[in-house]
Amino acid sequence: MGTILKLNDLTKKYGNKVVVDNVNIEIQEGEVFGLLGPNGAGKSTTMNMVCDLVKPTLGNVEFFGKDFQKNRKELVDKLGYIPQDLAIHGNLKAWENVELFTSLYGIKGAELKKRIDESLEYVGLLDRRNDFAKTFSGGMKRRLNIACAIGHHPKLLIFDEPTVGIDPQSRNFILEKIKESNKNGATVIYTSHYMEEVEAICTRIAIMDNGKVIATGTSEELKKMVVEDTSTITLEEVFLTLTGKKLRDY
């Protein structure tokens, strides 16, 4: 297993405000890597820099051993990004949404049709392929949001809070699918506020606060940073101990 993604001294400043401060993370192939942090910790900015949506002020992102910014064309189809926002068109049918976003990676014709059905089946929406996205429930829209990002078979999947505002069944379905993707060889980066989700699916976790990575390790390793007997503490308690209980968005 080699390194799939390496963040080297990644820094982002807006004026004098440092949003991401010298972040160094290395993610191995086959990992499900959880990124935790309170609001404003810099998780989303970090993920945006990984996807080259935001230009770093300092540092760089290495993807498969190559500078991602300099090798976008070669590496772009290895990355799948599932945004926190429902980035789908309500007035397009489910299959049309998947077609639109999968075609961005140069897939066309019969292969594209195959990938559309494959992606919709994967998220359990094949029977609803001809329905408009605007008629879907919140959970179905979340699943369609995922289908739109996996049609090109990426090696690295970035999930940015994919379970916000959905029912437990849909949440469970999505988490199962993430595990399944990982078993099938995809490396996953998962950001969320739900500690139990992160604990359930992530093999390694990083906690960010004030733009810095303050702890990295498995769930057990993080718990051991706080107490000796890990059975007496939850990941949420570890998180609160490391980041504090003060409100961040008041």
């Binding site: 926002d85 007035n91 961005l104």
Partner: protein, 357 residues
């Protein structure tokens, strides 16, 4: 070029009832309203009979030619009546003349009826054309002075209000093409769909084509359907149909390129619509969208600067005369706008991407 973006954006635009309302129904309603409102105004010029008074003073060359001039005038539906005495302005009022000409030794003066100045211009044009023909004839140029060809738009088959407004309002609405894509472009921004484009490394050029081509196609189809409706429901004449169709489609394509360029620069749909509508209103104001270009008193330089003037003039002349000298300039304007706006839109898109989302 990603045909799937184009295809799906066309679907999105076609699924919006606002587009159907704006491009198909609204112009037809406006054409009905404006053509009936201005029908009587246009009628005045349709039925105009020109009777001009004249007087020859001194021993100029006109004295020998006045008989020939009266004959040629008659052939061109102008009646010349001699008044040996009296004040020209009084005579115009008293005898309901369209104008009065005083021929002196080597000059002439045309007095116009202040309430029908355009007819005075016709008289002036006729006299000028007559002298030019006579001069050319005297210089041995092969010209038949007895059959004087008076080339003046007012002598050509006149366009009626229904045809005029039927054409110019369709063009005006076509210039509002950006509205057809407004909802989709706003949603792309609102729902962060552009993030997916950026993650997939979609080039600024392809992103532009994904906006411009669907917009131009949908707005063109809407405009052409509206034009067909004006033919079927109101009997509007479009003259040379293939050429008119080409001008309409190029006009809408130019409007689309202009709209996308403004959107790529501002990155704000409300601002884009305000800017586009303001610019189009100004171009329409000088281009005859609100009053007939033949009778407007705007400076010619401002009319010439308005692409809508060239398009309107080409189409209305094609409608009533079957040909127009403005066809080439309308092609030049629309083609130029498409190229320049596309270039600027791609550059603006690249700059925006440089700063990232």
């Amino acid at each position: 070029m990603n045909r799937y973006i184009i295809k799906n954006n066309i679907k999105l635009m076609c699924r919006s009832w606002v587009n159907i309302l704006l491009f198909v129904i609204m112009p037809v309603i406006l054409v009905v309203c404006l053509s009936s409102a201005f029908d009587s105004l246009m009628k005045k010029y349709d039925d105009a009979e020109i009777t001009a008074g004249y007087r020859v003073e001194g021993d100029g060359v006109t004295d020998e030619m006045i008989e020939a001039m009266c004959e040629v005038a008659e052939e061109n539906d102008i009646t010349l009546e001699e008044y040996t005495t009296g004040d020209p302005e009084e005579l115009i009022k008293k005898n309901e003349l369209s104008g009065f000409i005083i021929f002196e030794e080597d000059t002439y003066t045309v007095y116009e009826d202040k309430e029908a100045a355009e007819l005075g211009k016709v008289i002036e044009y006729f006299v000028n054309a007559f002298y030019e023909n006579v001069t050319a004839s005297a210089m041995g140029v092969d010209t038949d002075s007895a059959k004087l060809a008076v080339e003046h738009p007012d002598f050509k088959p006149a366009i009626d209000s229904k045809d005029y407004y039927g054409i110019v309002e369709i063009i005006y609405f076509g210039w509002c093409a950006i509205v057809a894509g407004a909802g989709i472009f706003m949603n792309e921004k609102k729902y962060k769909i552009r993030k997916r484009y950026q993650v997939a490394n979609l080039s600024s050029f392809n992103e532009y084509l994904g906006k411009f081509i669907p917009l131009a196609i949908v707005a063109s189809v809407g405009t052409v359907v509206a034009a067909i409706l004006t033919v079927v429901l109101l009997g509007v004449h479009w003259g040379n149909i293939p050429l008119s169709l080409l001008i309409v489609v190029l006009s809408v394509a130019a409007a689309s390129a202009f709209g996308v360029m403004i959107y790529n620069i501002t990155d704000n749909m409300i601002a884009t619509i305000i800017i586009c509508f303001t610019v189009v209103w100004i171009m329409g104001f000088f281009g005859g969208a609100f009053e007939t270009y033949l009778f407007s008193s705007h400076p010619m330089i401002l009319k010439n600067l308005s692409p809508i003037y060239h398009i309107n003039r080409a189409l209305t002349e094609l409608s009533c005369m079957g040909s127009s000298d403005f066809v080439n300039s309308s092609f030049l304007y629309t083609g130029g706008i498409i190229v320049v706006c596309s270039l600027l839109a791609v550059i603006a898109g690249k700059i925006r991407k440089g700063g990232r989302a």
